[in-house]
Symmetry: C2
Subunit: 241 residues, 2 copies
């Protein structure tokens, strides 16, 4: 594997994971030293990140990790909605029904686990591992849809969009009740695709995305009002300069 590819993969993942926060300066010398390679392959990696929209290069200050905010979620969903609905429709027409039936079963099982957790009001325990398992399942669905659609142009746009979406969604936490509902919606998408009904698959996806967006928007509004509350009762932790 080329050094520039490793640098690209590493930086991309770090940006997506939030390790490199928006506004971080990606100095060529610094990053090259950190990743153990020369400036030349690193610059190639930066070019690709800029092309992806994950970094912006300014005239005099260098390359910065691109900013992302709650407002971007709305813009991203304006792209995501038509792309995912179209993908679901095409997957219904072309996909292997067995693969999506199997996924539907697994989403159904995941929903039961999440609902039981919800009933127990079991917020004290750490369910991070279960959450990761669920996120991995949704990624499996994304991959299955992408395989079924078999359209590199559509897949490329989806992949590009999802990178930004991951960053934007990091701004919100998902509570168990939402995950359970999400699992149900995903199951319905899988079932519709497995049945080969494009219209239903698209509609199920539309419903899922609309609810996801509504939930994220509500989360953001909650976070914003908490922010406002904090700013009304300031507790200056830092001394004035």
């Amino acid at each position: 594997m080329r050094a520039s590819d490793r640098a690209y993969d590493t930086l991309r993942q770090e940006i997506l994971d939030g390790v490199l926060t928006p506004g971080t300066l990606l100095g060529e010398v610094d990053q090259a030293e950190r990743l153990g390679l020369s400036r030349t392959p690193l610059r190639e990696a930066l070019s690709r990140l800029i092309a992806d929209g994950l970094a912006d290069q300014t005239k005099g200050r260098g390359t910065l990790v691109s900013s992302i905010s709650a407002a971007d979620v709305d813009l991203l969903f304006e792209l995501r909605l038509p792309l995912e609905v179209q993908s679901a429709r095409l997957a219904a027409e072309r996909g292997d029904p067995r693969r999506f039936s199997a996924l539907a079963e697994r989403f159904s099982a995941a929903e039961k686990i999440l609902r039981s957790r919800e009933r127990q009001r079991d917020h004290t325990q750490d369910h991070a591992e279960e959450d990761e398992h669920y996120y991995a399942l949704t990624e499996e669905l994304d991959e299955a849809v992408s395989d079924a659609v078999a359209n590199p142009y559509l897949s490329h746009s989806l992949r590009s969009m999802r990178a930004h979406l991951v960053r934007a969604r990091r701004l919100a936490q998902h509570e168990p009740e939402r995950l359970a509902a999400s699992a149900r919606e995903h199951r319905e998408v899988c079932t519709a695709i497995a049945s080969g009904d494009a219209e239903t698959a698209g509609a199920a996806m539309l419903i899922h995305l609309r609810r996801s967006l509504a939930y994220i928007t509500a989360q953001h509004e909650t976070a914003q009002s908490a922010q406002q509350h904090r700013s009304l009762t300031p507790n200056r932790e830092e001394p004035p300069a």
Copy 2:
């Protein structure tokens, strides 16, 4: 302007114009000499072209201009349809009605010119300049929609898609009657956007794209049967090796 930007713009335009045909080997030394720069900025340009999907790098033979065929048109329209329909809807909600009313008028005028040409069966004269004028008008509409939508994520996907589309459409010629019909469809899209009716705007765009695809598909089938005819009556211009 940076040398790598110039190289990228030049190579991209040449690929889109068909000057660099699919499969052409983009040797780093050759292209660097031709464009009058060093290998380093040229490699950066190639990276961006690869990220755009306009070039593919093979392991041992270097970077090639990516292939495009009639089959890609169907795949591209599977992406284009939802993107453009969504754009039209959002433009209707957000755009400046005056700008789209003005464009509707201009498409109406263009349609009249193209229809008159059609009536006269005026295929002998060279109307390349008029065609260019019409294509420029459609690009103005694309830009107006992009401005109205004001969504960088959506615009980026559209721009990426259109680059491939330009290459694919090069495989087909547009006859006057199709251009006139296209002008009418564009006018209806503009009118719907100007009226602020998102549903109608999306529907008008859908109609336009379905008809465009049907026309291009028919053109390709004609070309293919002509190809088959030629292969049935081969006239070996080149002597056997």
